[in-house]
């Protein structure tokens, strides 16, 4: 892939509508409106596009769950509540190329027969919020959004700010938040496709997922599937951060080598450091030790290596970091972000955090490590939503792969690292 397609990071980030049009913006509309809604859903199914937020659910399939006829209005919701630690790819689109997102949401609306979309953007992304608002107004003023788009379809978008809650990235919590309530996950079923926003059939997709659709419409199925490999087609945004010299968002085909991404594109590690671990898909995914990073980054290979592609937020950790501290930092995060709805998450994550504080302050005891593992067993799979499941890999993996660091903390030689 020579030209970045989705972020269109180069040559000009954040184009005006005029410039966006000049480089082929909104060219997907003729392709969209010449097909029936059903054909669009079939095209998205055929593309193999999977949700780019982290769960990797097949997008076309999700859209196909929307009933054709509904008494209540149907809705398209964009999940722009990006906040999985290590993930910052959606921000690049929201601030850098919001018109592409609008194009994608219109395609989604057309395909399911919805006339109203919402971009739920995390409250902290003020710059992205303003940019999206501006783009929505620009698009509406020029006939790319609102009434009678392409002479045949009505669709409008409201840009909605959240107010700080990681849990709102969970789609049903997001819907509750959009309805002005606490962001707490709903019981499923009913799934949002049947009963979502304002109890109407709703699709919720990640920012990046929407942006694949216009690119697919313009370039066609064959082109789209020339990137990646079976089960993992298409271009993808990879966010890489941590101990690398050139952190950033890279747009590459799925299946790019993880090792190459870290050591070539992202510039490798600071001089004199060695690699200790890589978190490949946001903080909720399992660690990969250095012997496991020589893999193509696609859904299957990363899973086979024992982790998950997740949000493709890659955190590179070198030998200057203490792994107990790393686990402590993430444990604080998950505890802080627990919505409090269910007990294993609310109480269990608090307990895990307390144990890490004990370990870090030199008061760790030998029984703490088995206790952490026991807590992981009791929390995992027993909660309402996946938040708590995401808190567990870092605990288990650091204990499994770096037992010596835990032993050293307990023996009193704790944390001489900087983190």
């Amino acid at each position: 892939m020579s030209e970045p397609m989705k972020t269109l990071l180069a040559p000009d980030r954040n184009p005006s509508l005029e410039k966006y049009l000049a480089r082929g913006g909104y060219a997907s509309y003729p392709e969209l409106f010449k097909r029936t809604p059903k054909e669009i859903v079939e095209l998205v199914i055929a593309s193999g596009l999977r949700g780019r937020g982290g769960a990797a659910f097949p997008t076309g399939k999700k859209w196909s769950f929307i009933p054709e006829k509904s008494l209540r209005p149907k809705y398209v919701v964009c999940n722009a509540d990006e906040g999985e630690p290590g993930t910052f790819k959606d921000r690049e689109i929201l601030e850098g190329n919001p018109h592409l997102l609008i194009e994608g949401m219109v395609a989604a609306g057309y395909s399911i027969g919805s006339h109203q979309g919402y971009i739920y953007i995390r409250g902290e992304f003020y710059a992205g919020y303003l940019r999206c608002l501006e783009a929505v107004n620009e698009a509406r003023a020029n006939g790319y959004l609102g009434k009678n788009i392409g002479g045949k379809f009505d669709f409008d978008i409201v840009v909605h700010r959240g107010a700080g809650a990681y849990i709102c990235g969970e789609e049903t919590a997001l819907l509750d938040s959009l309805e002005g309530r606490r962001g707490q996950p709903r019981l499923k079923p009913p799934f949002p496709a049947v009963e979502g926003l304002y109890r109407g059939p709703t699709i919720v997709n990640n920012v990046e997922t929407f942006t694949d659709v216009p690119v697919l419409l313009i370039n066609g199925l064959e082109w789209y599937k020339s990137f990646g490999c079976p089960n993992s087609f298409g271009p993808k945004l990879f966010a890489i951060s941590g101990n690398v010299l050139k952190p950033g968002v890279y747009e590459l085909p799925l299946g790019t080598s993880l090792k190459e991404l870290i050591f070539t594109r992202a510039g490798g590690l600071p001089k004199g450091r060695t690699l200790k671990a890589v978190i490949p898909g946001g903080s909720s995914t399992s660690l990969l030790t250095p012997d496991k990073i020589d893999i193509p980054i696609n859904y299957d290979s990363v899973a086979k290596a024992g982790s998950a592609l997740g949000s493709a937020g890659i955190i590179v950790i070198d030998d200057s970091n203490c792994m107990v501290m790393t686990a402590k930092i993430l444990s604080e995060f998950y505890h802080h972000e627990s919505c409090g709805k269910c007990t294993p998450c609310r109480e269990g994550l608090s307990w895990i955090e307390k144990i890490y504080h004990r370990l870090e302050s030199g008061e760790g005891q030998a029984k703490d490590v088995p206790l952490l593992l026991d807590l992981c067993d009791q929390i995992g799979g027993n909660t309402f939503c996946p938040l708590a499941d995401g808190a567990i890999p870092i605990v288990r993996d650091t204990i499994e792969n770096f037992p010596g660091e835990y032993e050293a903390h307990i023996a009193g030689n704790y944390c001489h690292h900087e983190a």
């Binding site: 910052f88 409201v158 809650a165 309805e179 966010a239 968002v249 955190i315 983190a419």
Partner: protein, 164 residues
């Protein structure tokens, strides 16, 4: 006698405009609270009650939502809210040292406000700006790739901005 609103007429208008954008009035609640906070720097019970009345929703709904999200401030905060990311990538690259540095230079602890009302310090979770770690968000603006030196300069420039 009609009670005076705890926010300006502009805020009242903006809240009503937000209400008109959604099929359900409560959907405008978070935007309304953000708007009130933008003007008053925090949410007190008078303003939350006024929002409930404007949106025509029960006060308890405003309390529930208003106390759930981390961006809503209930205690008075300084003119500049210094939000230091303490999540993984930022911590790996010195974010927690920035937090310590702020506490030392401003003479307050996290969660506190300087006596002159200029600065408050809060640790925050991932701001999704890890390529620019460590990051400190001041009110709505992200300040990327900070070092202790750059942080000192930032504080100095905020101080001189406040004097103007």
């Amino acid at each position: 006698m009609k009670k005076k609103l705890p926010f300006s007429e502009n805020v009242r208008k903006d809240i009503l405009a937000a209400k008109a954008m959604y099929p359900l009035a409560q959907s405008a609640l978070i935007p309304a609270l953000l708007r009130v906070q933008e003007e008053n720097s925090r949410l007190d019970s008078d303003s939350m009650l006024a929002v409930a009345t404007l949106l025509g929703i029960p006060a308890i709904e405003v309390m529930k939502t208003g106390t759930f999200y981390t961006m809503f401030q209930h205690k008075p905060v300084g003119k500049y809210l210094l939000q230091v990311c303490v999540n993984l990538t930022c911590s790996m690259l010195g974010g927690r040292h920035l937090l310590d540095r702020l506490e030392k230079t401003l003479g307050i602890k996290r969660g506190e406000t300087t006596p002159d009302g200029l600065f408050s310090i809060v640790p925050v979770q991932c701001l999704a700006a890890c390529q620019e770690a460590p990051v400190v968000q001041v009110n709505e603006v992200f300040h990327p790739l900070l070092t202790e030196k750059k942080l000192d300069e930032l504080i100095a420039s905020l101080r001189s901005e406040a004097k103007k």
